[in-house]
Subunit: 990 residues, 2 copies
């Protein structure tokens, strides 16, 4: 038995959907979409059977209206058939009744004569039914992106559903969950114009469908040039949204259901709305404007924005007004708006969802300052959801404290996957990284922000991936949230499986997930729009070379995977993985080529020319990709990818420029410059200007291979000879060679430790026609076997030592949990390996008392004061006190994991003086763009073994890397900081 | 009657030179050269008639040995014929007897039967005779460069010399006058190897001839790889020099007639000279080395270098020794050397010319410091000429004071037209400017430096021009020196006339002089080797554009003049004018193109590409020029011009690099950037990032035409429209236009003052598809007719004002002479118009008492404290107190030229704290490279008219430009400083 879905049954009309006359029109539209999903999977579409449900199931069966396998769907209060099934105790509606957006999904036998099995989908409300209908699509493994991205589902032979498949859904974790189409020109706008003729209902139907399939329920429409309540045409957009159960909001500065663009069109000296967006000089006009907006749109399901901002995201009263002036004015605005809503929309104000954004300048109006009370706890805000925001770059700002969490309207979060603003916009292609989204949004949820989550997705395109995750978290926090620290990985796998079926192997799908993680890790480390030639250092720590290799590997892998795709999934692959990966990584690699071009030009290396060619090729690829995107799928994505993304000079794309590439004539003479990779050491070895170079690779006891690179600087090939008498050094390709004009020559140096004896140093001389260069090679030849495992050995050999050790935060020798909290690793998080974070994430701890901590072992050569440099996530302070605190302490010897700790702990504020989350604040901007904050303190370390203990103190402390450096050392410039240095291994040590 | 020189007389042996057996061999060699000169002029060579002079003139005549027109030449004491003429009272030798290097040049009738007229040349000594012989060449207008540069003299029909042409020469102004061949690889070395097989006597004969024809007498030979006393081969070089009367010296660090290279060859563990250039550890070896040198060369006429320096121009004792240690050691060295000279060369030490260079580190050894007495007045230095030096860049260092001038050995000056050292070498092509040479060398002479002048001429080639001037000054200071303030101009004219004859018109020759002055002015403002893309500012004050135009004009003029040359003078033109001018200006222009390329790239202007092409073309020309130089004249100058001269990274040519050129893809969209020439204002006028620009040209009352320049920044042609409603502004080519992709568009703005009315400002809007740019135009519409002439009006119009006025130093309203001194203008001197200098040049004055001063009139808009910024010559302090003082004072009203002056005068030291003339001193280096020193003081100015008075105080104060700026203003970056601003005219004012 069971509900049997197969092609035969469908073709023979044995499977059909019963469309009750009483059913909500939007629910029927969704049922149409689900029938289409069925047709994609089985090759035939179930018919819809219109019925008048009040006749009762048996009567209908007699009339031949009910086939063998009917799908009965309905919403409590709008479905006589569902009511009848409940009355007949065939289903139990008590589990869903009165709940928000839940559904019962079950298979029922014996609903009527001749009916084998009925699939019954009953929603507690309109969206409950809709989500219930889409559950069938989910079970058929139809992607939520089936419509938006034309994802082709696998064909199925047969699906049999039985009572065992029954379920009752949960209430969504967050009440309002949705996204904001924003910054929609040139990409989304061109796309909409070409495909639909504008921002109309034809277009929005796809957007609504996407939202609902992803279990969202809330949308802010495009608002740069569009006017949602006018473009339908007329009210069609709003009507359609309401039918489909999409709750409309408008952006944070568009109160009372009216869009900013509208005022621009309507204002004027003769306008009834006046000619000033000014609540003082044009109060009457503005009120009239709002009034008409509420009259027009109040009938629909909305979250009404309240409050007011100036034009162009400015403050409402101009720069000269006091905080109190602003607050008083805003209070007046709120009072007026509440009155209008009460009069026009609903006398029961509390039942009208309203939202006030605490965004940018409104934040101080809410909190006030020492002298002026803010609007917090103001009666006008009762029942209003207070929307907090990230800093536009994915880092939360202040969070509600215990007191604030009591606020009756609850809290919302406005998050960004796309941004148009300071310091650099990002509007082109997805550059958000799921582990970061997880870390931030779980923190938000834990802090009580559970009423409204909205994310700016720009043009939507390529942001489907993080958006899916965002809405999954919002819908099912229990599954994806704080208790699932591997949430992002798990989601990646599920996301890939949703989009790709049996035509790709499981191994390929794993690679696909790897690619998604791979590209987003890189582009979230530096967003494409913020990339330039001064981000990664050309040579220091080899960070550029390593990243280049990683990018090449990812692009090659994507290329190979692309070849595995067939006609069913190659377009899907291109949209969801191939295009965003190649577009962003190609651009990143382009900038790296520019960096290399500039660096090599600076040392006269003719190879710079190849790097210029590389950069130019990458720019060609960049253009070709957009063209390809506009052609594929019959131009489905025409317009997307058009946002400027190269060479921002301002925060927006104005005056943006393609990169400067350097060229120069090769020098006279047979010349080359000797370089030590990973460092900026270089010399041509001339008689007067010659320098000695240092090769320190072998100060890492695990290293036995290093490199010298010669770059041609002259017009002609240049011979070189290696002169070295150390028997323990071997040279890859012999001791003589030629550095070809315009190219480079790697000299591989192998260390044979067996032949070392007591030696700790040697000199390699590179002899050329134009001069000699001497390279001092240092080797760590010491015995570290008595040092505990996971100890970072200060690189040195007694004669020479480097000025730092570098430690990945997760490579602690021990973590120390307390009753109050514990440190856990956030896998993949941040710019390098991972990060550590203390849980509970909103807790405040006292170091030395209840604070969890981490222990690091460091072996130094000398007792001294050292600098402890922490690379931490660029979290913003959770409260207005501008603090993110942590503790640092050190003891001599191996104290790792030992509870007793007598040492004094220094409490460090990671937030520098003068920090503010605001445009133009250098500290905030640096953190947001670099995706890191660097903080420094000092500590004494003894000669030999030391334990460095780091304590959590306030929320937001997420360390990624720890560098301990000699005081006064200026470490080589780099983006990612020093590469991790040697630590003793587990297997070799006690 | 008279001495008749014509082709007929020569061909018929009626003119001949009598070569007495008793005559000095070198004198005869010179007579051969003069006979050759005669042959170039008349097409036939006078024969030489060997005679034994003691026979007497009549007897010789009887033997038929004396032709109708004999040239009788001889040296006092070596010429029986001359003695006889004197005995017969036909000539009077008393005027030359006992004198140094003088000659009697006269025509004598009746010396013997059948002799019409004899040309008699009698020298007081060998060089006197030689100079006398060359006087005939001079009279024939044979260039002193006839041999060195193959300058072809004009043919003459006939020269008749009579008693009226008789003259007795004067003693040369400076005793030892010569040059130093230095830094001779790769240019001079390759030249000598190819043409002569090395640094041998064949080669040196040309050098000696050049020296003697230029009235020099003293030479330092090449010493990088060459050994003068060995390369002749053997002693031939030294013997030839001695014969020709060339007094040999060796460089400042080559004592006792031995070259530095020699010790390198001779030293060794087994060497009798030991193996260390160390007077302590290897005293015996070093003394032996010197001893042998003196034995070898002491027989010749020398100026023997004494003292000792370490190897490679280092200090003798290393960095740890105290001043006293060094002085004691040097004293010991001198004592030893004096003993050796006395023993080996001449017991009468005082009669042996000796020289000690007070160069670099030796300077402090001489002066000592507060605690340690220097070697000044040391008995070991008695009779030793103390050679002072410039700072290698043509600026004198300390000068002898009154006391020092009593020193028995007198003083010398080591000057540089070529230098190999910090901060940047200049060894390629002449970059010395005669007005500067005049200013410096007259100061030296006035300070008593009259015993020895030597100038480093590098490879000689292209330095023949300043060298000629230098030796002219040294030989005939009365003519060219302190009393001839237009000396350089006069010399230019004479130099050109010497090299170019009747085949070029007088007008062309004037142009030639203009070209010589023109190119040397530019390349002395910034030497070619020190040029780079960061010298001249790309746009500020239009300095780059102006210089580019000047260079283009000079190069075009040279090109035209070159076309006027024929086979007799085109090679001469190329060597002496064309090549140095084009080579250096082309290189300068190349760098300017790089600067423009970089600047335009920075603002996204596609025209940057053209500038890169321009730079590349200039580099091609640079190479082609060297090739041409190596081919012309049958490869006469093969090797010259080979010195590296592009892109110095170090002080020497090692690692030098060709310039980086920037390229980039033009931007998307139809875009242009609006710029205001002369300023770095630029904007694309975007909605968010658009800026307002300011056009301030019309704040200059004499200006009625200005420019806006649009540069294309995009891929496509971009239309623009000018929107402006001011009737008094006209736009050259209408109000609409197109900025072509990759190019620029000048918009000419004409001010019609007649239509101005009361207007002082307007807005010009440049409208483009991509944004609007508004330009605020300000006009000075005030009436300045009541202001005295030569008043600098503060640029402004009551609403807007610029932050400075800029004044050429020579544009003072009045100079105030005193009994003690006066200011005179040095025409052409310095980087812009000219300079002012107080005379006597070695005098110290007291401002307010006996100091001469200059008055400047300035009309300001507001009473305030202002900054007075002086651009002065980078003179070094004349004494060890590190001071160059001047006085600044201001009074309100017109006090110009009025004696009474009650105002307080501030005394400013132009030498900054920490200044030292030494490698690595930033102040000195900046002055030497920039050829300017900028000093600042403050003064109060009243509203309205002010008189600024500037007083001389110490030697070396040579102001070129005065800028008065608002305090706290940061003036736009530039090389030459603000361009002169408006001053009221003579003719219009009272």
């Amino acid at each position: 038995m069971g509900f049997v879905l197969n092609r035969n049954n469908v073709e023979n009309n044995k499977v059909s959907f019963l469309y009750e006359e009483e059913a909500l029109i939007g629910v029927k539209r969704i049922a149409d979409k689900v029938r289409k999903d069925v047709s994609l999977v089985f090759g035939a579409m179930p018919i819809c059977v219109p019925v008048k449900g009040e006749a009762g199931l048996n009567e209908l069966a007699e009339q031949g209206k009910i086939p063998e396998f009917p799908v009965i769907f309905g919403t409590l209060g709008s479905s006589p058939l569902i009511d009848e099934l409940a009355d007949r105790k065939l289903i139990n509606l008590e589990e869903i009744r009165g709940k928000r957006e839940v559904y019962l999904f079950t298979v029922v036998e014996g609903v009527a004569e001749n009916v084998s099995s009925a699939l019954v989908i009953a929603g507690s409300d309109k969206r409950g039914t809709i989500y219930g209908l889409f559950r069938l699509s989910d079970i058929l493994n139809v992607s939520p992106l089936v419509d938006w991205c034309d994802v082709t589902p696998d064909r199925m032979e047969e699906l049999v559903l039985s009572e065992a498949d029954a379920c009752t859904s949960k209430e969504p974790s967050v009440r309002y969950r949705g996204f904001f189409i924003n910054d929609e020109w040139p990409a989304f706008g061109n796309w909409a114009e070409k495909n639909f003729g504008g921002f109309n209902a034809k277009m929005y139907e796809h957007v609504f469908e996407l939202l609902l399939r992803l279990k969202g329920n809330y949308l802010w429409p495009a608002m740069w040039s569009a006017v949602f309540p006018e473009d339908g045409p007329g009210l069609e957009n709003a009507i359609l949204a309401d039918e489909l159960g999409v709750i409309m909001g408008m952006s944070h500065h568009e109160p009372c259901l009216r869009q900013g663009e509208e005022y621009k069109h309507l204002r004027g000296p003769e306008s009834i709305y006046g000619d000033a967006w000014d609540f003082r000089s044009n109060k009457e006009g503005i009120i009239r404007f709002w009034e008409d907006g509420l009259k027009r749109g109040g009938q629909f399901e909305n979250v009404i924005t309240v409050g007011m901002r100036g034009e162009f995201d400015s403050t409402i009263m101009g720069p000269d007004a006091t905080l109190k002036d602003n607050i008083d004015l805003l209070r007046d605005v709120l009072k007026t708006q509440n009155r209008l809503i009460r009069e026009i929309v609903n006398k029961d104000l509390d039942s009208v969802p309203r939202m006030l954004a605490l965004y940018k300048e409104v934040e101080p109006f809410f909190y006030g300052d020492g002298e002026t009370d803010g609007l917090m706890d103001d009666p006008e805000l009762e029942g209003v959801t207070l929307m907090l925001c990230d800093d536009n770059f994915g880092n939360l700002r202040t969070l509600p404290d215990e007191h604030m969490r009591q606020h009756s309207g609850g809290y919302g979060m406005y998050y960004h996957f796309d941004y148009h603003g300071y310091p650099v916009s990002f509007e082109w292609v997805n550059s958000s990284f799921l582990p970061k989204v997880w870390e931030q949004m779980t923190t938000a949820y834990e802090a009580g922000i559970r009423d409204l989550w909205i994310v700016n997705v720009g043009d939507i395109f390529t942001n489907e991936y993080p958006l899916s995750y965002f809405l999954s978290l919002a819908y099912d926090y229990e599954r994806w949230g704080i208790n699932n620290i591997n949430s992002a990985d798990e989601f990646n796998e599920e996301f890939v499986n949703r989009q790709f079926g049996k035509n790709l192997s499981d191994a390929d799908k794993q690679v696909m997930a790897y690619l998604l993680k791979g590209y987003t890790k890189i582009v979230s480390t530096r967003r494409p729009e913020a990339m330039n030639d001064n981000v990664y250092h050309a040579v220091n720590y080899g960070e550029l070379e390593e990243l280049s290799l990683k990018i090449n590997e990812l692009m090659d892998t994507a290329d190979k995977l692309s070849a595995h795709c067939d006609s069913t999934n190659s377009f899907t692959f291109f949209q969801l993985v191939g295009y965003p990966l190649v577009a962003t990584l190609n651009l990143t690699r382009m900038w790296l080529a520019v960096t290399e071009n500039h660096y090599l030009s600076g040392i006269g290396a003719g190879f710079a020319k190849r790097m210029a060619e590389e950069a130019n090729n990458r720019l060609k690829i960049d253009r070709a990709l957009t063209d390809k995107l506009h052609e594929l799928g019959n131009g489905k994505w025409y317009g997307m990818g058009l946002s400027e993304h190269v060479g921002f000079v301002n925060w927006n794309e104005e005056e943006c420029r393609f990169p400067l590439l350097y060229s120069f004539e090769p020098g006279n003479k047979r010349r080359f410059v000797v370089t030590i990779p990973g460092t900026d050491q270089h010399t041509e070895g001339g008689v007067w200007s010659g320098k000695r170079l240092k090769m320190d690779d072998f100060l890492d006891p695990s290293c036995s291979s290093a490199r010298i690179t010669l770059y041609s600087t002259g017009r002609e090939d240049a011979e070189y000879e290696i002169i070295c008498d150390a028997p323990w050094l071997e040279f890859g390709a012999g001791k003589k060679g030629v550095c070809r004009a315009g190219l480079f020559e790697h000299i591989y140096v192998k260390l044979n430790r067996d032949l070392l004896g007591d030696a700790v140093s040697a000199v390699i001389r590179i002899h050329g026609e134009n001069g000699d260069t001497d390279i001092d090679v240092s080797v760590d030849n010491r015995d570290h076997s008595s040092v505990p495992a996971n100890t970072y050995i200060w690189p040195g050999n007694g004669k020479r030592s480097l000025p730092y050790v570098s430690i990945e935060a997760s490579h602690c020798a021990a973590v120390n949990d307390t009753a109050a909290g514990r440190f856990l690793e956030l896998p993949d998080y941040g710019r390098t390996l991972s990060a550590m974070k203390a849980f509970p994430v909103t807790a405040y701890f006292t170091p030395g008392k209840d604070a969890p901590s981490m222990d690091y072992l460091v072996w130094t050569d000398k007792e001294d004061e050292y600098e402890v440099i922490l690379y931490i996530a660029p979290s913003n302070p959770a409260s207005m006190d501008n603090k993110i605190l942590y503790g640092v302490s050190a003891a001599s010897g191996d104290m790792a994991g030992k509870g007793q700790w007598e040492e004094e702990t220094e409490i460090i504020n990671a937030i520098p003086e003068g920090f503010r989350v605001t445009d133009g604040n250098e500290y905030w901007e640096a953190g947001a763009l670099d995706n890191i904050r660097i903080t420094r303190s000092r500590t004494l370390l003894a000669k030999g073994l030391n334990t460095l203990r780091i304590f959590a103190a306030t929320p937001g402390f997420v360390p990624e890397k720890i560098v301990i450096a000699e005081v006064g050392t200026s470490l080589p410039a780099s983006y990612l900081g020093p590469k991790e240095t040697y630590r003793t291994k587990e297997e070799e040590h006690g």
